[in-house]
Symmetry: C2
């Protein structure tokens, strides 16, 4: 029903344009300021950080989203424009105004996102100069994605072509994030575009659902940032029969798949990470317990350090589960590492330690599965291992 | 009203004896099995881990504590006897029985504690042999403390002499813990002894209160262990007028002071730590918010990594505060690093970055203060920085 577009990105969606420049905010030559643009006005949905401290762009974009229509996103990296007070709000508003003027659209149709150091004012001269220099084209999604990166080592982008009988449309997305990642109802920066015609209520509801199953099951370091946001723009250019809750299953599935792929790319590129960790909890008393248990295990620094060292120390998985708050009956608990049973009904199961160590050392992803055997709750969470490099990166971030 | 006893430990309390041996469970020559003993039966109180997965010694000692009387604690390190099923419970019971036989007391008066790797059976031959070899003396508290250590680099012990008119008594304690430390209502291993005469209700209540203000405000890595417990034994040998809620203030103050000192020693000796972090939150909307905010900041891996790098990146303190769940009004927020104001009413406050970096680099402790200016809630939490060494230790723990 849907297929991956090779080297796809957000501008793989027909009609969307992007452009980026380097302004020196990040202090390097890489692009750090970009615009995503749809000449056709889009229906827009978003989820935002749940932090009580919100960046200026988040405050502004939340307000703009109230009118559920947008045509452009302007984004910079290197400075989060958070904890910057009234001046920060004025700067975010000016970014939107300059972008609107450049594109000849109302300023209310521009969303703003910033990511980087907290507590520094935006260098507005660089931003003003940069916005003037951006040139837009339908093949520049990759550059936009580059411009969002901070400690990311790899761009995160994807596009899916959906073909469901009379509904044919494209979904594309870009995301950034490598640290301060433990979204709670919202997440890092992620922009998703589609040309599908989608009812606005369903658009909002399906984004919430997709984020819940993907970005909200992601933890790199249990931190939630004040800048987190996911934007979804739907231009309607595919002119398919309008999608709503009645006929929306395929749209929902494709959107969840797209968000899950981006979430896994973020986990794999966690600061200092050497491998992806995927934790599945089955048989929990309920869904909430399954989610809580999976997120606690994937976020445990001791589990993460053990994975880094290829150490099959499954006692730490049991300890994380025990403190997660989920109902656990020790005598019913089964644990698996890369599909090998290491604990059965609460007791150590014999396994070849040396073999396991080798298998962990070779793996690009480590799969941890906990079967609680209490009910029907099931959830998967993604994260990464914890290496000395994470500490190095974060001990000299500001300098 | 109370003074520190130089080089004090748990056996600085008159009447208490201890002894330790090396059985090789830890695979080294250090002591790893020990007994604490009071010939006089003691009133006993305890707090235990809130983990849903509890070690066998925790299950056993909880049962024993129901009779609120105890005379001995037997403890080993190197193996936690957790996730070991029925065999684990039988092994813990045998440890108690052997200790009781050696001391000639009922087995119901022996508490048991184990700490170390999870999911391995206790090597009972070593335990049996070891218990026979322990010799008890009133000056062996230090050896007991050594025998509890796992990744600890320093013993944690203290004793206070209390003189409150007609009430004269001593309080002494030992603790262990360097990783898997984020107690929730209970904590690591800690044994406190006193010769004071204390009503049992008040004994239980004052231990809960002291643990709440000390061990429960401690986070090394946000992990809670299945083995956590704090035991308090009161022999009554000081023959003071019985202490209860009416006349218990000085006892409560001394006990809280003792537990706080031990909690800070644990934080300072966090796995791989180079310095202590003390976070005070003032002016929170209420007490619960203050505790939540202080614990979130002290547990933030990004704050911890910044402290390791002497990086005055206070934006991370603001970000941790924002996600803590505590009510925060950005415009009222003040932040201090080592008593220097870095954020005032939600805006960056100018400070000498180079000076601050030097002051952080030289400091043995880093003080972080957040004034929320919303109410009367106040709390202090303790933790440590995050170094590459933490990762190294925990990536090869089992091997």
């Amino acid at each position: 029903m849907f297929r991956l577009i090779p080297s796809g990105t957000v501008t793989s969606v027909p009609g969307f344009l992007a452009g980026a420049v380097s302004t020196g905010i990040k202090g390097k030559k890489e692009p750090d300021l970009a615009i995503l643009y749809s000449p056709t006005p889009c229906r827009a949905a978003a989820v935002f950080t749940t932090s009580r401290i919100k960046s200026a762009p988040v405050v502004l974009s939340r307000k703009r989203l109230a009118q559920i229509k947008a045509r452009a996103i302007v984004v910079n990296s290197g400075c989060a424009n958070a904890c910057t007070g009234e001046q920060g709000l004025a700067d975010a508003a000016e970014m939107a105004k300059l972008t609107a003027a450049k594109l000849g659209i109302p300023r209310e149709e521009v969303l703003v996102a910033s990511t980087g150091v907290i507590g520094k004012p935006l260098p507005m001269e660089r931003i003003r100069d940069g916005i003037g220099k951006i040139s837009l084209a339908p093949d520049k999604g990759h550059e936009l994605c580059q411009a969002m990166m901070t400690t990311d080592t790899r761009p995160k982008e994807i596009a899916l072509e959906v073909n469901a009988g009379e509904s044919r449309f494209t979904l594309g997305g870009v995301a950034k994030g490598a640290g301060m990642i433990s979204p709670d109802l919202a997440t890092m920066l992620c922009f998703v575009a589609t040309d599908a015609v989608v009812k606005i209520d369903f658009l909002e509801q399906s984004l919430k659902k997709a984020a819940e199953a993907s970005f909200n099951m992601l933890s790199i370091d249990a931190e939630t940032s004040p800048s987190d946001c996911v934007f979804l723009l739907a231009s309607g250019e595919a002119k398919n029969p309008e999608i709503g809750s009645r006929n929306g299953k395929i749209f929902q599935d494709a959107l969840t798949e797209l968000c899950t792929c981006l979430a896994k790319s973020i986990a794999r590129d966690g600061e200092g990470a050497t491998r992806l960790i995927e934790v599945t909890v089955e048989g929990a008393a309920n869904q909430a317990d399954a989610r809580r248990a999976a997120k606690t295990i994937v976020g445990s620094p001791l589990v993460k350090a053990a994975v880094f060292g290829s150490d099959p120390n499954w006692g730490r998985v049991a300890a994380a589960l025990g403190r997660s708050g989920a109902a656990v009956t020790e005598q019913r608990l089964d644990l698996y590492l890369n599909d090998v049973c290491v604990m059965k009904q609460g007791l150590p199961a014999p396994f070849d330690q040396e073999q396991m160590r080798l298998s962990l050392a070779r793996a690009e992803s480590v799969l941890i599965k906990a079967r609680l055997n209490l009910g029907e709750g099931r959830a998967t969470a993604w994260g990464c291992d914890l290496s000395p490099e994470y500490v190095r990166i974060n001990s000299e971030y500001m300098t």
